[in-house]
């Protein structure tokens, strides 16, 4: 098993999904427990893989290779390194917690949990595939379950949100497919194998065109301004656990794509587009922040804060130096945990009040003290309070971008101030002030909900206090990447 650990991680959810398929529709308990135990097993496998992972090594590890379509030299090629492994781990945690959060699903449980596990397979596969063709397949496999999960179990405008998400992402990924084909035919011998493609040289003009094709695919997923408009819709309409997955994992697929494919394959183009990336990053950070500030819908506010925070990842990428890359990579992980937690908290409140109107709340701090504490914790983490993980990653990003451009850094810090503003304003409107009598009957957060949030809090604190527990895994790979990009 040790030699196929990644395959097990990717396909265990699929096995679980088939198991769910064969359970009668009525035994909802059994379905839920099968799903939960599957995600627990996957998390366990990820921990086992952590044991195998050699942090000091920069290259790909745990490689599995088999010929899949010989005519096109397509391989079933899995492998992981310091860039993808944290994402695998994040996916395992978020999937497990969101699965716990899904126990409240009341209708069509069988379909829900089948699709949920299918989604996990797609996400895991996306992060460990090292063959471009295989990567594309997994990338698309994520889309379909997501469409249904938003479309069937979502809010009032779910159909619109689901199809919008689907079409946006599909449009982007089709152009990415064209880019992949371009890379394939430009390589000699023709191959999709990342381990071989990285070392090859390509002309600048070609790099620029294909970089743009990949960019469309990834930028829509991140989402980078101005491709972000699907995100608020999808987030607001999706059921809570799916919002968590969206924010926690799916958005990372985009930035992961930059790290894994765009930068190493097109280093010259990456340098050429550096200013453009920086500008887009600032736009995302500032624009996202301002729009988040204006929201009255709790979930929409968190959604736009995602746009702003993901801007920092992009900024770190644009900085193109050691600190920038480390910060960006770390921000991907911490944003997954923090924003995932915030979405869970929105869900906790919504389940009780059936409202997300920020202006309608108030004084809940006294009514739900435990909830108030946790919400404050996550808000502070999100706005970048020192000793929490958000601070470390954003600090590193800014440190990196300062070396690149002072103006860019100065403008981006605006985002941090904005984050403090919209988050504290939210805390004020929800927790402080006079209690609205309408909410006098609200009960505090229960044990099961705390259980889904506690692991995230532990991670946030641990990384915040001692970031090396995760940075050590990333640094060798990122340094190697930097060497490729900078030539």
């Amino acid at each position: 098993m040790a030699s196929h650990i990644l395959s097990w991680i990717v396909f265990t959810p699929l096995l679980g999904a088939f198991a769910v398929l064969f359970v009668p529709q009525r035994s909802t308990h059994l379905i839920k427990w099968i799903t939960l135990s599957t995600t627990i097993v996957v998390f366990g496998l990820a921990c086992v893989a952590l044991g195998f992972f050699q942090a000091s090594q920069g290259g790909f590890q745990m490689i599995e290779r088999a010929l899949w379509i010989p005519q096109f030299n397509v391989q079933y090629l899995l492998g992981t390194d310091g860039i993808s492994f944290p994402m695998v781990f994040l996916t395992a945690i978020i999937s497990l917690l969101a699965c716990l959060g899904s126990f409240g699903i009341k209708e069509r449980e069988k379909e829900y949990f089948f699709l949920y596990l299918l989604l996990e397979t797609g996400m895991m596969g996306t992060f460990v595939a090292l063959d471009l063709f295989l990567f594309y397949v997994f990338w698309e496999v994520v889309l379909v379950p997501m469409y249904f999960l938003i479309g069937i179990w979502g809010g009032p405008r779910r159909e619109y949100a689901a199809i919008k998400f689907f079409l946006y992402t599909l449009a982007g990924s089709l152009f990415m497919l064209l880019g992949i084909l371009g890379v394939y035919f430009a390589a000699s011998p023709h191959t999709f194998d990342m381990t071989q493609l990285v070392g090859m040289t390509r002309g600048l003009w070609f790099q620029k065109v294909v970089f743009l094709a990949f960019f469309l695919g990834f930028a829509i997923k991140v989402p980078i301004f101005p491709f972000h408009t699907w995100l608020p819709d999808a987030h607001v309409e999706a059921p809570t656990p799916i919002s968590v997955i969206l924010a926690g994992v799916l958005l990372k697929m985009g930035t992961y794509g930059f790290f894994r494919f765009s930068y190493p394959l097109f280093p010259d183009a990456a340098v050429w587009f550096q200013p453009a990336m920086a500008v887009l990053a600032i736009l995302g950070i500032v624009y996202g922040g301002f729009v988040a500030l204006a929201q009255t819908d709790f979930k929409k506010m968190v959604a736009y804060s995602s746009v702003s925070h993901m801007g920092f990842v992009l900024l770190g990428l644009a900085a193109m130096n050691a600190n920038g890359f480390r910060g960006a990579m770390l921000q991907m992980f911490t944003h997954g945990t923090i924003t995932g937690g915030l979405f869970l908290l929105v869900g906790v409140l919504y389940d009780r009040a059936h409202s997300r109107d920020l202006n309608g709340f108030g004084g809940l701090g006294a009514q739900m003290p435990a909830y108030a504490g946790i919400l404050t914790f996550f808000s502070l983490a999100s706005l970048g309070l020192p000793a929490m993980s958000g601070f470390v990653s954003e600090f590193l990003v800014l440190l990196g971008s300062y070396q690149y451009s002072k103006v860019v850094t100065g403008l981006s810090t605006l985002g941090i101030i904005l984050a403090a503003t919209y988050l504290l304003y939210m805390v004020q409107r929800v927790l402080l002030g006079k209690l609205n009598p309408k909410w006098a009957a609200l009960t505090d957060i229960n044990f099961k909900e705390v259980l889904t949030l506690a692991p995230l809090m532990v991670l946030i604190l641990a990384i915040g206090v001692y970031p090396r527990i995760i940075l050590d895994y990333m640094i060798p790979t990122l340094d190697a990447l930097l060497k490729i990009v900078k030539g």
């Binding site: 379509i69 005519q71 397949v137 496999v141 199809i163 599909l170 497919l177 035919f185």
Partner: protein, 468 residues
């Protein structure tokens, strides 16, 4: 190769031909038409068993019929398509009546005719075999004599078809006048030389009309929606797949044997027509409310994607056409099998009949979803492999505009395929649960589902068959 010698390699075709007469004969005496249907199925399977891949290309009947790997591929293609269609039509109620047996017999003739098209290597043979297919198609479309729409569709099809064939025939006469021969290789040789080069540019246009009609290429696609809507559903299913595929087959043979030297000219034209076809098909499909019309337009759009491979016409492009056709065979026939089933069970072909299908008949809905996803080209399903192949060919040939337009088109297409998915899963049911599918149709559905998945997951197996 002489006639007697050739017969040795012509066994499956002879079985089909003899079998067709046998079926018509038994139909006269057997009251239970189900037996006739089963007999036809048996004949098809026996014929398939006798299909043998020739070691090298064989020129049967004085090179009238060219049996090579290409023709061999389409031999199987035709047999699979006819077999699946028969399985679908066994439970089709409007067909039940005194003429049911003839329906099956006609399909055996159809299989025979399709194989002739695949191997035709002579202008006369091409014309005759294509007409043979068309004639049987007209009959099958109008098979429900008492149904006004079926009759209208048949007449429309006949009129359009005759005009298209006549134009192609005129093109053939030009070629014959130039080369003095009907054999494709001889015609190709004659056109290679200077005085006839410009003639080739003209003649190829006539073929575009005649064969473009068969493959529903825009602007010769007008007949398709009406005919597909009016024809009995199993026939529609068949028409969208098999005659179209064989149209592509003969088109490819003509282009590669006769018109290869003037490729630069028709390649541009085909690129434009490919773009036109997929765009028209997709845009019109957006607003359809009848599932048969909807799939008709979608199949026009699909023809547009297949034309990408034709426009590029590199090795990869030609393989792409074959792979796409194979994927399309399982996918589209599968989708129509579901349409037949739902049409039977709800009595309606409106999109509204699909509302809440996931509750009324979860398995059928799941099948249709997979087929639609495959049509939309989502991996890891068959349709994706086909699309991937033609995209790859176009990128390799540097047809950048074409690929970008095709990519945008695919997004539009995904939107309308998901209209059906949305209806099935996101809206509530409009009626009670539906009974399970009749056995033959269920088997056909299962086979096509397996085909879509296998071709998507293990394309290598199929590709090695095609590449041989």
């Amino acid at each position: 190769m002489g006639i007697i010698e050739s017969l040795r390699y012509f066994v499956p075709e002879l079985i089909l031909l003899g079998g067709a007469f046998l079926v018509f004969g038994t139909d006269l005496f057997v009251r239970n038409k189900k037996t006739v249907g089963e007999l036809s199925l048996l004949i098809l399977i026996v014929a398939a068993c006798f299909c043998q891949m020739p070691a090298q290309p064989l020129k049967l009947f004085y090179d009238m019929f060219h049996l090579d790997a290409f023709a061999h591929f389409f031999r199987y293609f035709a047999l699979i398509a006819v077999t699946l269609t028969l399985l679908i039509s066994y439970s089709y109620k409007p067909l039940k009546g005194p003429y049911e047996g003839e329906f099956y017999g006609l399909f055996l003739f159809m299989a025979f005719a399709l194989i002739l098209v695949a191997g035709a290597n002579n202008l006369l043979m091409i014309f005759l075999s294509v007409e043979f297919v068309s004639m049987i198609s007209y009959l099958l479309v109008g098979f429900l004599k008492k149904d006004a729409r079926s009759k209208e569709a048949a007449i429309k099809y006949l009129l359009f078809g005759s005009v298209a064939s006549a134009i192609m025939l005129y093109g053939m006469s030009l070629l014959y006048g130039a080369s003095g021969s009907l054999a494709l290789p001889a015609v190709g040789n004659a056109l290679f030389f200077a005085p006839f080069k410009s003639l080739a540019h003209i003649a190829v246009l006539f073929f575009f009309v005649g064969l473009g009609f068969k493959i529903s290429m825009a602007p010769f696609h007008m007949w398709a929606p009406d005919v597909y809507e009016g024809a009995p559903t199993p026939v529609t299913a068949f028409l969208t797949v098999a005659p179209k595929a064989l149209g592509f087959a003969v088109f490819m043979r003509v282009l590669s044997v006769v018109f290869m030297p003037s490729r630069a000219h028709w390649s541009v034209l085909l690129t434009a027509l490919s773009i036109l076809t997929m765009t028209l098909g997709n845009i019109t499909a957006l607003s359809q409310n009848n599932i048969k019309r909807f799939l008709a337009y979608s199949s026009i759009a699909q023809a547009g994607y297949i034309l990408m491979g034709m426009a590029v016409f590199s090795n990869l492009g030609r393989q792409g056409v074959l792979v796409y056709l194979l994927a399309y065979l399982f996918t589209n026939l599968g989708a129509f099998a579901v349409v037949t089933l739902i049409g039977e069970q709800t009595g309606s072909d409106d999109l509204a009949a699909y509302a809440g299908l996931s509750e009324r008949s979860p398995v059928t809905a799941a099948f249709l979803t997979v087929f639609l996803l495959s049509l939309a080209g989502i991996p890891p399903l068959a349709g994706f492999i086909g699309k991937y192949y033609v995209f790859a060919a176009a990128i390799q040939g540097k047809f950048i505009t074409l690929t970008v337009v095709a990519a945008v088109n695919s997004v539009v297409a995904a939107y309308y395929y998901f209209r059906i998915v949305r209806l099935m899963y996101l809206t509530s049911a409009s009626g009670p649960a539906l009974p399970p599918a009749p056995r033959p149709l269920a088997i056909a559905l299962g086979l096509m589902f397996a085909g879509v998945l296998l071709l998507g997951l293990f394309p290598g197996l199929f590709l090695s068959l095609i590449w041989r």
